[in-house]
Symmetry: C2
Subunit: 408 residues, 2 copies
């Protein structure tokens, strides 16, 4: 099999761990597999480099910032290849420009556009284990780019797609994807198989196991991902195409997100073009809006509520205050202390009663729902932040997520 | 003027120093100069990276070792460019592959073969200060190479040559080139101007101000070098083509080297091919021999003495012991506690009395000379190590090096 493996920062956090990772890779090689290994920076290294930059100046230039932080993965890749050679395995380390891994020029959040596989294929044919510095790319003009936090996952999946690998294994410091945060729900259960779609909903909700773009990539190219711990040999969670067995599972997991804030505009004139006049300036300010809800009032005006990242709360308030007079908005109010609690499951498509059950469970626990948003396989409710744990636990229990299969 | 500047590891040793270097560069820019700035790794960083590698395995692969340590300069270059932009100057940082600076594939001691200047010229034309990571290159196969310790000097001089720069300034933590080590000779004087040839002899003798290959490069391409301190605004030492004024200076400086050991072979058969049978195996063992002296004895045999790096002393002894029987050598003995003391000066060419004066000065101080070797502008004597400081001080005084010009 051709396997692409990715080891996160904790897995290569020190020399002893790098040795252990080398040992694990060697066992795979001994079984006859071809291996391409993507590594993150040693844990703490990216932050150390970022701190250097921000201590030097509050506004480091994006091009040089990428040049700076990309060294973290370069160091890990070089060290892992050395460790492999030291125990008698052929290995070659690469950084992005050498392969090359081509991206656009959006420093700090570049997107992979093309990966050349000739060098890697030739090295594999010659019996090498190929080690690749994750998280980085090279733009058309030859500048070093980075893919954003968690970008090494994307590097691994993109390489797996480009090489048509049989499997992409993401080794991390958790055992897999869980039905809920085990810190909140002690009974949370490791999920054996989950669909890309469900994983996307979970990932975007803050289940920080897999970077969301890597899942999108895997979905597009049909790359099977195995998320697992680098500290055990236990299997983790397979992220794959949805199949029949998954449809039987009503709800796969419960997640939450405490990183958002709510802003409500009361008495917005209900006329064409108003939404654009509100959300245009917000987008221009670089603020990403998540949920938007608009309700009409009997007086011909509307109330509009939306959520933004909590760190952008003050900035977003100022933006809407700037258009308040102009648009004739009656009142602006907001709340930073909110949480978004979601249930995710491919089985929801076929079972209409899931949403109402969620609302009922929250109501039974005296939790008021401030906003609701739904997708085909997800239902999210915005609630008062202080009820987060209670809500997650109650939903986990109500949907019987502690047992492997819950059928209605 | 187009000036290439190089700042060493101490000069960019922390963020405050990087800010200060940025300030210095800004003053040059304000004067209207075009600037290409080469930086070393922050002091301690290269050693930190090397320690990581050698702690991981005693025999790190050279290719990956270069990939690893080259990150040190990449970090400095990125930070310096950020610092320049922060104070309002246009700047662009580059690593070797981006320019590219092409080298051969001798990892750890690569030689620069070609430097493309198009990108740099374009950036300069657009008003940028160009910051280049020193010490590194890229091989024909796209591997990252390094030029060896002190390689950033070579990067700077090679860039100055390729760009036909008006001047190459090497900023370091000393004020320039001195007539002797100021730690040994308090009266040692900073030399204002020195020829490439003299500098080469001084550099190879351990005056660690300038990397020797950078001086060779400068000599070939006629690049004027200004070695100066990054902590003051005082002028340092100009390293330039030899001119009339220099010929008047009998001796420019006194240097010493305590890193060698002596090996003597007594009673070597005095016949053709013997030297090759001795020095062939030594070269094959990777040992660099410095001085070699052979003297014939009345009995038709010869005594042969040579010096090797002190760290290779035991290895070299073993090599000659292996051929001892075979060649019929009578006895092998050696001494690790030796020092080589040298006087260097372009004026020696025209003044035959310099050597005899050196021998006389050493004799007057009771210092026995074990070996002598001479070049056109240098005389070296191997002496007992314990007399090193005494010999350096006595020679410095005898040749009046404390005063700017000493004529016979």
């Amino acid at each position: 099999m051709l396997i692409v493996q990715k080891y996160g920062g904790t897995s290569v956090g020190d020399l002893e761990r790098i040795r252990r990772v080398a040992g694990r890779i060697a066992r795979y090689r001994d079984q006859g597999h071809d291996l391409v290994v993507v590594v993150s920076a040693m844990s703490g290294e990216t932050d150390r480099l970022l701190n250097l930059a921000y201590e030097l100046c509050p506004d480091p230039s994006p091009r040089e910032l990428d040049m700076l932080v990309s060294t973290g993965e370069q160091v890990s890749a070089a060290l892992l290849a050395m460790a492999l050679k030291h125990i008698g395995y052929q290995a070659k380390a690469y950084v992005a420009f050498q392969i090359p891994i081509k991206t656009d020029a959006l420093f700090g959040k570049a997107r992979i556009q093309d990966i050349h596989t000739e060098k890697i294929r030739r090295d594999l044919d010659q019996g090498n284990i190929v080690v690749v510095a994750g998280f980085q790319g090279i733009s058309e003009t030859g500048d070093i780019t980075t893919l954003g936090r968690g970008g090494s996952d994307t590097t691994a999946v993109a390489l797996a797609a480009a090489l048509k690998a049989d499997l992409c294994e993401i080794f991390t410091d958790v055992e897999g994807v869980f039905t809920a945060d085990p810190h909140i729900v002690p009974k949370a259960r490791k999920i054996d198989r989950i669909s890309y779609e469900e994983m996307l909903e979970l990932a975007s909700m803050g289940a920080k196991v897999l970077e969301i773009r890597s899942v999108e990539f895997a979905k597009i190219y049909g790359v099977p991902i195995h998320v697992r711990s680098s500290f055990t040999d236990e299997p983790g969670t397979m992220v794959v195409e949805e199949d029949k067995s998954m449809e039987k599972v009503l709800v796969s997991g419960v997640t939450y997100n405490r990183n958002e804030a709510r802003i409500t505009l009361h008495g917005v004139p209900d006329q064409p073009g108003v939404a654009a006049k509100i959300f245009g300036p917000i987008a221009e300010a670089g603020i990403v809006v998540d949920m938007i809800i608009q309700t009409s009032r009997p007086d011909g005006k509307a109330d509009m509520t939306f959520t933004v990242p909590r760190t952008d709360y003050q900035k977003a308030l100022k933006v809407v205050q700037n258009v308040e007079m102009d648009l004739g908005i009656e009142e602006i109010e907001g709340d930073k202390d909110i949480a978004k609690v979601s249930i995710v499951g491919a089985g929801m498509r076929a079972h209409p009663g899931v949403a109402s059950k969620m609302f009922q469970v929250l109501a039974e626990h005296g939790i008021n729902i401030q906003m609701i948003s739904t997708s085909e396989i997800k239902i999210s409710c915005v609630i008062d932040e202080k009820y987060t744990e209670l809500a997650v636990r109650a939903l986990h229990e109500a949907f019987h997520l502690e047992s492997p299969v819950q059928e209605e």
